[in-house]
């Protein structure tokens, strides 16, 4: 079944001058609206056997001689669709800076130090209820050159597949209470205040491990599929 049309009022425009890099990298022509065909409603399938046992544990998956520095956190939640149904067995990937706001990346030159025990990436497959979880340390904020004094709020990048290529999504999760969220041009390319709030994960004490690790809960909603059967023939056979 094809997907509901994407609600572009909840999504950032390509061209958003407050985020300067978007100016030269955004199309000037309108996107051409396409009804779903097999090319859009299908997508790649991944299996648990493709992931390693530590892929969802960023505290351990790059540890060399100890744990990484930083606040120990669990991030967990569900991948759902617009119909409020779980999206099972879908690949969720995540990456982030270390506690000092530095990425393990050959192009990151920020003066905060690399943490020898922290890689900063992981991945998980949602279970049959759409549930996913991983353990990591809380990333730090960092400066970037948009305005000379721009600072990114602490965030974790997410990549999610869903069951069809039209659901493919990359987003960022922010942390409850971070005062930098309201200042961030990248956050504010999103035109809808409620849509911004849905990117902010609350602290979840019930999900925490007492005396060990605090939890944040982050649900992700992908596009839903139509279920009404009265339609012209999509699959052509």
């Amino acid at each position: 079944m094809e997907f509901y049309q994407r609600d572009r009022t909840l999504q950032p425009a390509g061209y958003a001058p407050i985020y300067k890099t978007s100016v030269a990298r955004s199309p000037r022509q309108s996107l051409l609206s396409l009804q779903g065909s097999l090319s859009e409603i299908t997508g790649p399938v991944f299996g648990q056997n493709e992931l390693g046992p530590l892929d969802n544990d960023l505290i351990r998956n790059y540890a060399k001689d100890g744990d990484p520095i930083g606040e120990r956190i669990i991030v967990h939640g569900r991948v759902l669709d617009e119909n409020n149904r779980p999206v099972p067995n879908t690949l969720v990937e995540f990456w982030q800076a270390n506690a000092g706001g530095r990425y393990r990346h050959k192009k990151d030159t920020y003066l905060a130090p690399i943490d020898p025990n922290f890689g900063g990436c992981g991945r998980a497959l949602s279970d049959e209820n759409g549930y996913y979880f991983f353990r990591t340390i809380k990333p730090g904020p960092y400066p970037w050159r948009n305005y000379v004094n721009s600072w990114r709020p602490a965030h974790i990048h997410f990549s999610v597949f869903g069951s069809g290529f039209a659901q493919r999504l990359i987003t960022q999760m922010y942390f409850e209470g971070d005062p930098l969220i309201k200042e961030c041009p990248i956050v504010h390319v999103i035109p809808d205040e409620d849509a911004i709030n849905r990117l902010i994960a609350p602290i979840d004490l019930k999900g925490s491990v007492p005396l060990d690790t605090i939890a944040y809960k982050f649900d992700i909603v992908l596009r839903g599929r139509r279920s009404t059967l009265f339609e012209n023939r999509l699959e052509g056979n």
């Binding site: 999504q11 390509g14 990298r25 000037r28 493709e50 052509g236």
Partner: protein, 209 residues
């Protein structure tokens, strides 16, 4: 008063940022962490179909190629079947040796991306109209707020392209060619060149899918 429509709302997209490689292709970021890495090689020795290479660049509105873009492709196999249960075409077979998906980054030095795959077959489109062989592209990068979707078609399939229902939706005929990759047969494996122009002269047609 009426009942509430109880649909949820799609999560907002955010840019993949300059360090997307860490999460999706960590070897390009400069380190080795996963035992199993997703790559730009879609076909192994058992995959059926004609081996091809796809190469190109992603170019911004100033004419500068992006060195930090990430691309994914999704395609049917040589029979025109997608390796997904929602493909219920009755013709052709699923190829267990072909997932049909790959990802890569543009090179930090040359700005070129490259996929090694097979040429897909014809896929049934809506209302029984065949779609010419094509590969679905998704492009993200720093400065791209929401992933861009486009399709690559094949220059050596001119007749099928002329009848393709999606290419024919493009009102300005001149823009259709932005989706057609040229074929170079000078090497041992055919190379299709497909540049993606984000903005300005020759801007690639992107789809709201």
């Amino acid at each position: 008063m009426v009942q509430n429509l109880d649909y949820l709302k799609e999560t907002a997209s955010q840019t993949a940022g300059p360090y997307v490689h860490i999460g999706l292709i960590p070897k390009q970021a400069g380190f080795d962490i996963f035992e199993n890495n997703f790559t730009n090689i879609l076909a192994d020795e058992n995959t059926r179909g004609e081996r091809i290479i796809i190469e190109g660049r992603v170019i911004d509105g100033t004419g500068t190629p992006l060195r930090d873009a990430l691309l994914e492709i999704w395609q049917a196999n040589a029979d025109g079947r997608y390796n997904n249960e929602l493909d219920r075409q009755t013709s052709g077979k699923i190829d267990d040796d072909f997932r049909g998906w790959g990802r890569t980054g543009t090179d930090f030095d040359t700005a070129v991306y490259r996929f090694e795959t097979i040429k897909p077959g014809v896929v049934a489109g809506r209302n029984n109209r065949d779609m010419a062989p094509h590969i679905n592209f998704w492009i993200v990068a720093r400065g791209i707020n929401i992933g861009l979707n486009t399709r690559m078609y094949f220059a050596d399939e001119a007749d099928k392209n002329a009848n393709d229902p999606v290419l024919n939706l493009i009102e300005q005929h001149e823009r259709r060619k932005t989706l057609i990759a040229t074929r170079d047969d000078s090497g041992p494996i055919p190379v299709y060149r497909f540049d993606i122009i984000l903005q300005g002269d020759g801007e690639t047609v992107f789809f709201d899918i």
